[in-house]
Amino acid sequence: QQPVQSPQAVILREGEDAVINCSSSKALYSVHWYRQKHGEAPVFLMILLKGGEQKGHDKISASFNEKKQQSSLYLTASQLSYSGTYFCGTDYTGTASKLTFGTGTRLQVTL
């Protein structure tokens, strides 16, 4: 079952913060976050494992709430380069060989 991402789209000014949520109605083993710029391939950001710690990558971090079956991606002090569509991929099998992706959150950072 496809996870639900929110918001569907967000526009930020450079330097502002944003949170993107990924919610599942089924139990998750892990959540994988990717960013895709227009016309380009998706690029890996991070993996959150069940029971794992919050991850961070530069000013982008994420958490995994096992009780809520939800992951949140935090973008701090956004930069123009953060623009793109963010996808969460959820693993329901424990093998992460087959991810179910959300429909994406389109993020635009402006000056």
């Binding site: 998706p42 993996i47 093998t95 060989s97 087959k98 992706f101 959300g102 429909t103 994406g104």
Partner: protein
């Protein structure tokens, strides 16, 4: 090569024709994935190869779709008797080991069925 390579980058085909899409994964990567992305949608899992294990074909939408991976490297996705609903971007990815690790995506093949 340095990254995952897919060919062709664009393919326009007539309804009913067969097409073959090729993926060259990163050298040494044992896991290979095919996903499909329709306009404005997320990535839809198609098939997963891991080493010499039997592939996970559970995402293939119909028996018109098939894929193989020769020599643990190059993979070909074949769509027979193409339909308009097959139009999408077909993405291939590879990872060093199995699922649960960072996957590297290719640029994709944009398939248009007319």
């Amino acid at each position: 090569g340095a990254g995952v390579s897919q060919s062709p980058s664009n393919k326009v085909t007539e309804k009913g024709k067969d097409v073959e899409l090729r993926c060259d994964p990163i050298s040494g990567h044992t896991a290979l994935y095919w996903y499909r992305q329709s306009l404005g949608q997320g990535l839809e899992f198609l098939i997963y190869f891991q080493g010499n294990s039997a592939p996970d074909k559970s995402g293939l939408p119909s028996d018109r779709f098939s894929a193989e991976r020769t020599g643990g490297s190059v993979s070909t996705l074949t769509i027979q008797r193409t339909q308009q609903e097959d139009s999408a971007v077909y993405l291939c990815a590879s990872s060093l080991v199995g699922g649960g690790t960072e996957a590297f995506f290719g640029q994709g093949t944009r398939l248009t069925v007319v």
